[in-house]
């Protein structure tokens, strides 16, 4: 095992897949000469040259569409959005082109493209640069939405995403790039659509993904000190969702909290709650509680920002609620 940052784990996945398959190329703003806005593509231009590591003008709609078109004729584009905030300019190409092509062509034309970049809350970047959009894309049949929380999953899931024949929305945690973790050496591929139990416990299930995984683990650590053992279920892939893993956990713990950075209305957690109440209603000893970002645009002021974001304390409070415990916080 090597210890890598989340950033370098992604870099290794890109490098290995580009070495493995000449049809894989990387395109986006600042991916080449600048070495990546977040340095995920560091060194790739030098290794693979400008035809395979392509710097674009600031034209999200345009280069996302170029990625879809190149995918339609069999290349495997990896399209980097500098952040998913800017990708809103390209959402037509993801929703109307990438997601629909296979269906509306009667199965003739697929789009094996990966659209990747950082998403989720950042640090004091105010309203337009600090947003979690996974529920937007997870709503769309035809897309898959992948969100790694650890360096090992970042590498393994990106490799699977690049090999997939479907269009993938791959949202990296903007605050996770510097986090470190052990990553298996060599061929390390994590299948899409499989959740991962990041910590086992029998008292409560915490369903989480991306940045909220580390927050849930922190909350679980604190709860363990209070004699409460949490089962931390990292979804890893939002769509298709591994509902089996969630339901198996809830059937065991009988209590469930869902944490996500996004806004509450029509969020990913709402989908989890729907599945849980429908499938294991009789197993529940308490209503499922969601922990989300506040239902406001992200503020700049750090005190307000802290209030708007999910943190471990808010997850602990939610766990206490489903356990009908007095909060010790």
């Amino acid at each position: 095992m090597a210890t890598l940052t989340y950033r370098d784990a992604l870099n290794h996945a890109l490098r290995e897949e580009m070495q493995r398959d000449p049809d894989v190329f990387l395109m986006g703003e600042e991916v080449g000469v600048y070495q990546g806005a977040y340095k995920v593509s560091r060194g790739l231009l030098e290794e693979f040259g400008p035809m395979r590591v392509v710097d674009t003008p600031i034209t999200e709609l345009g280069f996302a569409g170029i990625g879809v078109g190149a995918g339609m004729v069999g290349l495997r584009p990896v399209i980097e959005f500098m952040t998913w905030n800017f990708a809103l300019l390209a959402i037509d190409q993801l929703v109307n082109s990438a997601a629909k092509m296979r269906y509306m062509s009667g199965g003739q034309v697929g789009v094996p493209a990966v659209f990747r970049g950082p998403g989720g809350s950042a640090l004091q970047l105010s309203s337009q640069h600090s947003q979690a959009f996974e529920s937007y894309y997870a709503h769309i049949p035809g897309l898959k939405v992948v969100m790694p929380a650890t360096p090992a999953d970042a590498k393994g899931l990106l490799k699977s995403a690049i090999r997939s024949d479907d269009p993938i929305v791959f949202i990296e945690g903007e605050m996770l790039y510097n986090t470190k973790g052990e990553v298996p050496e060599g061929e390390h591929v994590v299948p899409l659509g499989k959740a991962d139990i990041k910590r086992s416990g029998n008292d409560v299930t915490i369903v989480c993904h991306s940045k909220t995984v580390s927050l849930a683990l922190k909350a679980a650590e604190q709860l363990a000190g209070e004699g409460v053992e949490a089962d931390v279920v990292d979804l890893r892939t939002i769509r298709p969702m591994d509902t089996e893993a969630v339901l198996n956990s809830v059937a065991r713990t009988h209590r469930c909290v869902v944490a996500e950075e996004g806004w509450p209305f029509a969020g990913v957690g709402a989908q989890v709650v729907d599945t849980v109440q429908r499938e294991v209603f009789d197993e529940l000893d308490a209503p499922v509680i969601r922990v989300t970002g506040a239902d406001v645009p992200m503020p700049y002021n750090k005190h307000l920002e802290r209030a708007a974001k999910v943190d471990a304390g808010k997850i602990v409070a939610a766990v206490n609620q489903v356990l009908y415990r007095e909060s010790e916080a």
């Binding site: 190329f25 035809m51 674009t56 003008p57 034209t59 709609l61 345009g62 280069f63 996302a64 569409g65 170029i66 990625g67 879809v68 078109g69 190149a70 995918g71 339609m72 004729v73 069999g74 290349l75 584009p77 037509d92 190409q93 109307n96 082109s97 092509m101 296979r102 269906y103 509306m104 062509s105 009667g106 199965g107 003739q108 034309v109 697929g110 094996p112 049949p141 035809g142 898959k144 997939s164 024949d165 479907d166 659509g193 769509r239 298709p240």
Partner: protein, 344 residues
């Protein structure tokens, strides 16, 4: 009027090459096929056999026929949602196209795409697309793929003049010129984006001038003359295939019918006189009269050809009508390459 005798007027510049008489007659056949097919589609729509939107190509036939004849079998083509004509000119059978319009399993997209989404990947015909301008970057990506793989392919994008005011157009053309991609952007300027005339939507009248923003080769083309269209497209293909640079063609044409079946031929945005005036340059009459005048086809043979085509279109109609609907299970197929477990 056309006669079988030699034309009284001077022979037009760049006269017809007798050695290509078969090709010229085939262009007439293709244009007639599109015309009769579209008339039949309009009829089927009125009878409720075709649903949704149905955008007819009547009046613009020479554009698809003349330009597609200049392409090779490996080239890529995308279109807007007014693409029945291009599909037929590329060689998708009238049966397959009509069955798709009828939403039948025998349609090219198994009845899931309909009028706006005709595909045949084996012919490089990569879709009718329903979002104005949205397919311009897609085609640019196909041209990028051709360059990436160092092939001789070119990618051609057909779109209406209304799309040029859209950001996707600018973004795509800029990158195609910047990266020297083998792309051809063929703007079918039929004068109206739905009911909005060109001069009410664009700050400049000559769409071809927009290419100068990207230092891109461009031409204004008479889209009602199949021969002129073909020659201009051959030049664009040469630039793409040999010189590896893109071209913007502004092809001036006219839509004889409404925007879609729900739009009358004339009304709020154009007069009956406008349409009648434009109909004087019906691309099929222009071409058939020229072929007759230059002795490439007998008038009787042209009429016989039309009759044959009417029979072919009737056959397509009958085929589509009798073809089965998609199986209910088709609802959930073709969403993903690897089918996910789905909630139904």
């Amino acid at each position: 009027m056309a006669t079988t005798s030699a034309p009284a007027r001077p022979r037009p510049r760049g006269g017809l090459d007798p050695a290509r008489a078969d090709v010229y007659r085939d262009w007439l056949r293709q244009m007639l096929l599109i015309r009769r097919f579209e008339e039949k589609a309009g009829e089927a729509y009125s009878l409720g056999k075709i649903g949704g939107f149905c955008h007819l190509y009547i009046g613009q036939e020479a554009v698809a026929v003349g330009s597609l004849a200049a392409l090779g079998p490996d080239d890529y083509i995308t279109c807007s949602y007014r693409e029945h004509g291009h599909a037929l000119a590329r060689g998708i059978t009238p049966r397959t196209v009509m069955a798709e319009l009828f939403g039948k399993a025998a349609g090219g997209s198994k009845g899931k795409g309909g009028s706006m989404h005709i595909f045949d990947a084996s012919l490089g015909f990569l879709g009718g697309h329903g979002i104005v301008g949205g397919h311009i970057p897609l085609t640019t990506g196909m041209a990028f793929a051709a360059k990436y793989r160092n092939t001789e392919q070119v990618a051609v994008c057909y779109f209406g003049e209304a799309a040029v005011n859209n950001g996707a157009f600018h973004e795509a053309l800029n990158m195609a010129a910047l990266w020297k991609l083998p792309a051809i952007y063929l703007c079918e300027n039929n004068r109206y984006g739905m009911g909005t005339a060109l001069e009410r939507a664009s700050a400049i009248y000559d769409i071809s001038e927009r290419a100068s923003s990207y230092d891109m080769a461009n031409e204004v083309v008479d889209g009602q003359d199949v021969l002129v269209m073909h020659a201009a497209m051959e030049r664009a293909v040469q630039r793409a295939r040999t010189d590896k640079v893109p071209t913007l063609l502004e092809v001036r044409t006219y839509r004889f019918m409404g925007h879609s079946m729900s739009d009358p031929i004339h009304g709020h945005y154009r007069t009956k006189e406008d349409v009648e005036d434009q109909r004087k340059r019906d691309p099929i009459s222009v071409w058939s009269q020229r072929l007759i005048a230059e002795g490439m086809i007998e008038e009787a043979a042209a009429k016989a050809l039309d009759k044959e085509i009417i029979v072919e279109v009737e056959d397509a109609y009958k085929f589509a009508e009798e073809a089965p609907d998609p199986e209910a299970g088709e609802l959930y197929t073709d969403v993903y390459a690897e089918e996910e477990k789905r909630e139904e």
